[in-house]
C-alpha cells in the first residue's frame, strides 16, 4: 500500500492549511479570555450623575466628592486666588487650555478660570501624569517645593504642580491640565456633576 511517490506540494499545502486553521482557532479562542478583562456591566453601570449643595463651602475651602468613584474637587475660590490666576500664565504649559489640554474641559469651561462661575472650580482631582490625587495647597505662601507659591495643587506622587484652575506648571512630569467634568448649576447653590445643562454626559 506504500505510496511510491510522495506529493510534496500536497503535503506542504496540508501542513500549512492545518497550521493556519489551528492558529485562527487559537486566536479566536483567546478573544473571550481577553474580553473578560474589560470593565463588567456592573462596573459600567456605576456612573450616574451626582448632585451637591454648595451652601456650606466657605471661601478658600475645598470639598471632595465621589463621581464614578473618581474624586471631584469643588473649590470656592477667593478673590485673591482668582486675581493670581492670570499672573501664572508665563509659567504654565497650556495657560489657555487650547493646546495639549484642549480636550480636558467642556467648551463652557474653556476660559481663564476654567469654570462656569469664576469662583466655583469643579474639577476631577486626578493628576494627568499617573492618576494620583493632588493635594490642595490653597494658601499663597512660600512652600518647600516653590518659594513663590500662589496657591494650587501639589501632587505627592511625582511632585507635579497645578495652579488654582488646575492648570499644570512647566517642568513637571504631568503633561496636561486637570480634567473639568461636564457639570451645570441646578440653582445658585446646587451643582450637578456628570451632565451639562442640556443633559449631555
Amino acid at each position: 500500500m506504500a505510496n511510491e511517490v510522495v506529493d510534496h506540494g500536497r503535503r506542504r499545502f496540508l501542513t500549512t492549511a492545518t497550521a493556519v486553521v489551528g492558529g485562527v482557532g487559537i486566536v479566536s479562542a483567546a478573544v473571550p479570555f481577553i474580553k473578560s478583562w474589560e470593565p463588567s456591566a456592573r462596573a459600567k453601570a456605576a456612573g450616574a450623575p451626582v448632585t451637591q449643595s454648595l451652601k456650606k463651602i466657605e471661601p478658600g475651602q475645598q470639598l471632595i466628592i465621589g463621581w464614578r468613584s473618581l474624586p471631584v474637587f469643588i473649590v470656592n475660590r477667593t478673590p485673591e486666588q482668582l486675581a493670581a490666576l492670570p499672573k501664572q500664565d508665563p509659567r504654565l504649559v497650556d495657560p489657555k487650555s487650547d493646546g495639549s489640554s484642549a480636550e480636558q474641559q467642556p467648551t463652557y469651561a474653556q476660559n481663564g478660570t476654567r469654570s462656569i462661575k469664576p469662583e466655583w472650580l469643579v474639577m476631577v482631582g486626578i493628576c494627568t501624569h499617573l492618576g494620583c490625587v493632588p493635594n490642595y495647597v490653597g494658601e499663597m505662601k512660600p512652600e518647600p517645593f516653590d518659594p513663590n507659591w500662589q496657591g494650587g495643587y501639589y501632587c505627592p506622587c511625582h511632585h507635579s504642580r497645578y495652579d488654582m484652575a488646575g492648570r499644570v506648571y512647566q517642568g513637571v512630569p504631568a503633561p496636561k491640565n486637570m480634567q473639568i467634568p461636564p457639570y451645570h448649576f441646578i440653582d445658585d447653590t446646587t451643582v450637578q456633576i456628570g451632565v451639562d445643562a442640556k443633559g449631555n454626559a
Binding site: 481577553i34 478583562w37 474589560e38 470593565p39 463588567s40 462596573a43 456612573g47 471632595i64 465621589g66 464614578r68 468613584s69 473618581l70 474624586p71 493646546g99 495639549s100 494627568t128 501624569h129 499617573l130 492618576g131 494620583c132 490625587v133 493632588p134 493635594n135 518647600p144 517645593f145 516653590d146 518659594p147 501632587c155 505627592p156 506622587c157 511625582h158 511632585h159 504642580r161 517642568g171 513637571v172 512630569p173 504631568a174 503633561p175 496636561k176
Partner: protein, 434 residues
C-alpha cells in the same frame, strides 16, 4: 531493611532509567569551578527564598479573602487572630524584600564577573526574564493587602500603561477591569499572583538552571574550566579545576543558608516593617479612592526605576517618555551581552575604564534609589539649607543620575566595540588551583 531500599531503588530504576543519570548530571557529576567566592551564595539563596514564598504564600491564601470588601480585614485577621498567622505573613513580606536583595546581588555578580558573556547569553536572558516576572509578581502581591498604599501603588503602576498614546486609556481600563482599581482588579491580581506568575517563575527557574548546566558555571576569574586541563579526583575526562556540585557546593551553600536565615529571622522577629521599608506605614490604612497618601513611593526595590519615571518630564503633550525611560533601563540590561562585547569576562582582568564605569553605575543606581525613596527631599534641606528650591535640586540631581545610568551602557558599547579597553593578561586556569 537495607535490602528493602535497594529493591525499591531497583524497581524505580527499571521503570524510570533516566532519573539517576539526571540526578548525577545536575548534582554529583556537575563540576563547578573550585574558586567560587562569597558572591556565589546568592543564586542558591534566591532558590531558598522562592521556596519560602511558595510555602508561606500557600498558607496565606488559606485565610486571605481576595475581595475589595474583605481583603484588608482578612489580612488584619491573619495578623491578629490566626494562630501564628503573623509569623507566616512576616516571613512572606520579609521574603519578598530579601528576594530582591539576593537577586540584585546575584545580577551584580553576573555583571562584575562577565557571567552574561558568551556562551552564557541564554542564562542571562532567562535570568532577566525571571527578574521581570518577579517584579510583576511583587507588584501584584503588594496590591493584595488592599491598604491605601496598595491601592495607590496599583493606580500609579497601571497608569504607566495609560500614558501610551491612543491605546493607553483603554488598555488601562482593560488591566483594571474598572475605571480605577476595584474588586475586579484585586481578584485578577490575586489569580495572577498565586497561580499564573508562580508557574511561569518556576518554569523559568528550571530553564535558567538547565541552560547554566549545559554551558557550565562561570567563576571569579572568568576563565572557562572546560577549556583548561582535564582530569580531577573523580573523573579523568572532566575539568581539572572543577569539583562536584554535591557535596562540595551544597555544603558550602548550607553555610550561606544558615547565615542568611539568621539575618532573616532577626528582621522577621525584631524589625518586620524595617522602618517602613519592607512594609509601609500608610498601608495599615484601608484603601481609600478619594485620598492619596501624603507621600507616595513604591517599595524600596522599585525606587530606582521609579525615580527614572519621575525625572523625565512630559513633552509633546504626553507623559510616555518617563515610562519608556523606565522600561528602557531594564531593556538595556537584557541587551548587556551585545552592548559589552569585551573579550575578558572578569573585572579582575578588565581595563581601568570598566572598573571606574561599573563603580559609577552602582553609585548612580543607589542615588536613583534614594531619590525614589524621597530621601533627597528629606536630606537636601538639611545639607544645603532650608530655603533651597527642593524640586529644582531634586530634578537636577535626579536627571544627572538618570543620564549616568544610561551613560554606563553607552560608554560600555563604545569602550568595547571601538577597542578602547586595555585588559590585563587572563590566566590559563583558575588562580587557586593546586
Amino acid at each position: 531493611m537495607a535490602n528493602v531500599f535497594v529493591r525499591i531503588g531497583d524497581w524505580v530504576n527499571e521503570r524510570a532509567p533516566g532519573l539517576a543519570p539526571t540526578y548525577r548530571k545536575h548534582m554529583t557529576e556537575y563540576y563547578a569551578p573550585k574558586n567560587f567566592n562569597l558572591w556565589y551564595y546568592f543564586g542558591s539563596l534566591a532558590l531558598l527564598v522562592l521556596v519560602n514564598q511558595i510555602v508561606t504564600g500557600i498558607f496565606l491564601t488559606m485565610n486571605y479573602d481576595p475581595s475589595a470588601a474583605g481583603a484588608f480585614d482578612s489580612v488584619q485577621y491573619i495578623m491578629r487572630d490566626v494562630e501564628w498567622g503573623w509569623l507566616i505573613r512576616y516571613m512572606h513580606t520579609t521574603g519578598a524584600s530579601l528576594f530582591f536583595v539576593v537577586v540584585f546581588l546575584h545580577m551584580f555578580r553576573g555583571i562584575m564577573y562577565g557571567s552574561f558573556k558568551k556562551p552564557r547569553e541564554l542564562v542571562w536572558l532567562l535570568g532577566m526574564l525571571i527578574f521581570l516576572v518577579l517584579m510583576a509578581e511583587a507588584f501584584m502581591g503588594y496590591v493584595l493587602p488592599w491598604g491605601n498604599m496598595s491601592f495607590w501603588g496599583a493606580k500609579v503602576i497601571v497608569s504607566l500603561f495609560g500614558t501610551i498614546p491612543k491605546i493607553g486609556p483603554g488598555l488601562q481600563e482593560w488591566i483594571m477591569g474598572d475605571f480605577l482599581p476595584a474588586d475586579a482588579t484585586l481578584n485578577r491580581f490575586f489569580a495572577l499572583h498565586v497561580i499564573a506568575l508562580p508557574i511561569v517563575l518556576l518554569l523559568l527557574v528550571v530553564l535558567h538552571l538547565a541552560a547554566l548546566h549545559e554551558v557550565g558555571s562561570n567563576n571569579p576569574d572568568g576563565v572557562d574550566i572546560k577549556h583548561g586541563p582535564k582530569g580531577n579526583r573523580w573523573d579523568a575526562l572532566k575539568p581539572a579545576d572543577g569539583i562536584p556540585f554535591h557535596p562540595y557546593y551544597t555544603v558550602k551553600d548550607l553555610a550561606g543558608v544558615g547565615f542568611f536565615l539568621l539575618i532573616a529571622a532577626f528582621i522577621i522577629f525584631f524589625a518586620p516593617t524595617f522602618g517602613g521599608w519592607f512594609l509601609e506605614h500608610d498601608n495599615s490604612i484601608a484603601a481609600n479612592n478619594l485620598v492619596t497618601p501624603a507621600q507616595i513611593k513604591p517599595v524600596w526595590y522599585f525606587t530606582a526605576f521609579y525615580a527614572i519615571v519621575r525625572m523625565i518630564p512630559s513633552a509633546f503633550g504626553t507623559a510616555v517618555w518617563g515610562v519608556l525611560g523606565m522600561f528602557g533601563s531594564i531593556a538595556l540590561l537584557f541587551a548587556l551581552p551585545w552592548i559589552d562585547v569585551g573579550p575578558v569576562k572578569s573585572i579582575r582582568y578588565r581595563g581601568t575604564g570598566y572598573k571606574v564605569a561599573l563603580t559609577i553605575f552602582v553609585i548612580a543606581f543607589l542615588c536613583l534609589m534614594a531619590i525614589g525613596m524621597d530621601l533627597t527631599d528629606e536630606y537636601f534641606p538639611k545639607i544645603f539649607g532650608a530655603d533651597i528650591d527642593i524640586t529644582l535640586w531634586d530634578n537636577v540631581f535626579g536627571r544627572i543620575m538618570t543620564l549616568t545610568y544610561f551613560g554606563f551602557f553607552v560608554f560600555l558599547w563604545l569602550y568595547t566595540h571601538l577597542g578602547w579597553e586595555k585588559t590585563k593578561p587572563v590566566p590559563d586556569r583558575v588562580t587557586t588551583h593546586d
